[in-house]
Symmetry: C2
């Protein structure tokens, strides 16, 4: 059996941020599987079949990919960013657990990518230069009360906080509530970075104090970073630099 | 003035994980600055000067890089992994703040890289597939009491925890204390990943229950990931898969 499955991260958008390892896997693949806009980033070529599917069908998509690989296909499952950060790798392993014996000997690899928070952080400066945490604000797969509890403990620990999926049409009020909760714990001038579609032509960065942050500053393509108490802004003519020093007291 | 400074991440070790963006910056550079083992990863060529320095002189190194760039040189400051995660980007901005007017118009960019936790996570499966936090265990630049407080709050929040710099010769007892603290809060079977020198010829992965984890399982080249209460192990002939599902209750 020569089939395999590689769960690969395409990076945040710019091709110059896709690793050679991922490019090599795509060059060998017979099939690419993923969410519509991510599969659209893969260059079509003879011998490569592209399988796009919609959001929220991650486990079905993963089972499809596992079955093709078991049948001898060379399958790349693509995610934006890194496949291990709120993306397809966990979904493929959830699928694997529905019938572990069936795919027991299958060659499965995960190929890392530049996740959105690294790209956003680099563009803004280095807001994640000290201890931080990473929270998916979607409550599709976990209760909202757990998200609030984690935000509260993260703010108490004085972590910088990277927020994935801050807002979607289905849950406009979650991020509003999250900002209100953080305003109760953190000082008003805590800087908040809204980094939209980083490294794409639609890139837009905005830094605002927590007191002025509003949920409509984010959409589905925005990564948000809430600074820690030590995060600083250096004002410069070419654009401010947001960074968190390496030290803390 | 045509000088610039790019603070670049080389990724975890394997050249196939260095982004084309970083390779392009290195190809244009006149000078490369960094910690000895990271500069050693850059291919020498005519016209490129390599400036290696030892650990713990990050701000001096950063000032040297800023001064060369201000004098018209094209300078790449290299870090392993990602420059924004416990690496040189924050140090360069700390240096910039020692005299912001002097370097006011300097062209400064940060070029992201695959940080150790993404590479380690990919090799093991997807242990960071749900909410997590990231803590540097070195107490060179922050009090140990703050590290303990963050570990405790992170465990209470049921984050998976990625630990950078778990252990060095200068502070052998810190990681021992951290493991003891986590054992007080978390159940005994919580999986712990020790990922050493990932993607290099010295790569070594080990997964052990928290009850069996010992500090001498880590050294300066090890990234540690403590699973959350939901992190699971799938036993397979080719090597176990460690992952955290996307859902939580």
């Amino acid at each position: 059996m020569s089939g395999w499955i590689a769960i690969a991260g395409l990076g945040p958008g710019d091709e110059a941020l896709t690793t050679p390892e991922v490019e090599a896997a795509l060059a060998q693949a017979t099939d690419v599987v993923g969410y519509i806009p991510y599969v659209a980033r893969v260059m079509p070529r003879p011998g490569l079949t592209l399988h796009s599917s919609d959001n929220r069908v991650e486990v079905d998509r993963a089972i499809h990919a596992l079955e093709m690989a078991a049948a001898g296909r060379k399958v790349v499952v693509v995610s934006s960013g890194d496949p291990g950060i709120f993306a397809m790798a966990a979904a493929v392993f959830e699928a694997l657990e529905t019938d572990p014996d069936k795919w027991r000997d299958l060659d499965i690899r995960v190929l890392p990518g530049i996740t959105a928070m690294l790209a956003a952080s680099a563009r803004a400066g280095a807001p994640l230069g000290h201890d931080f945490c990473v929270i998916n604000l979607s409550d599709n797969l976990k209760p909202w009360a757990l998200i609030e509890r984690r935000l509260r403990l993260a703010a108490e620990a004085d972590f910088a906080i990277a927020i994935y999926n801050p807002r979607s049409k289905a849950r406009p009020e979650g991020f509003t509530n999250a900002l209100a909760l953080l305003r109760d714990i953190c000082q008003d001038d805590r800087p908040v970075l809204f980094a939209r579609a980083v490294t794409t032509p639609q890139e837009c960065l905005r830094i605002t104090p927590l007191s002025d942050a509003r949920s409509d500053m984010a959409d589905m393509r925005t990564l948000v970073i809430i600074g820690s108490s030590k995060t600083r802004l250096i004002e410069r003519p070419g654009g401010s630099i947001l960074y968190t020093p390496r030290w803390a007291s």
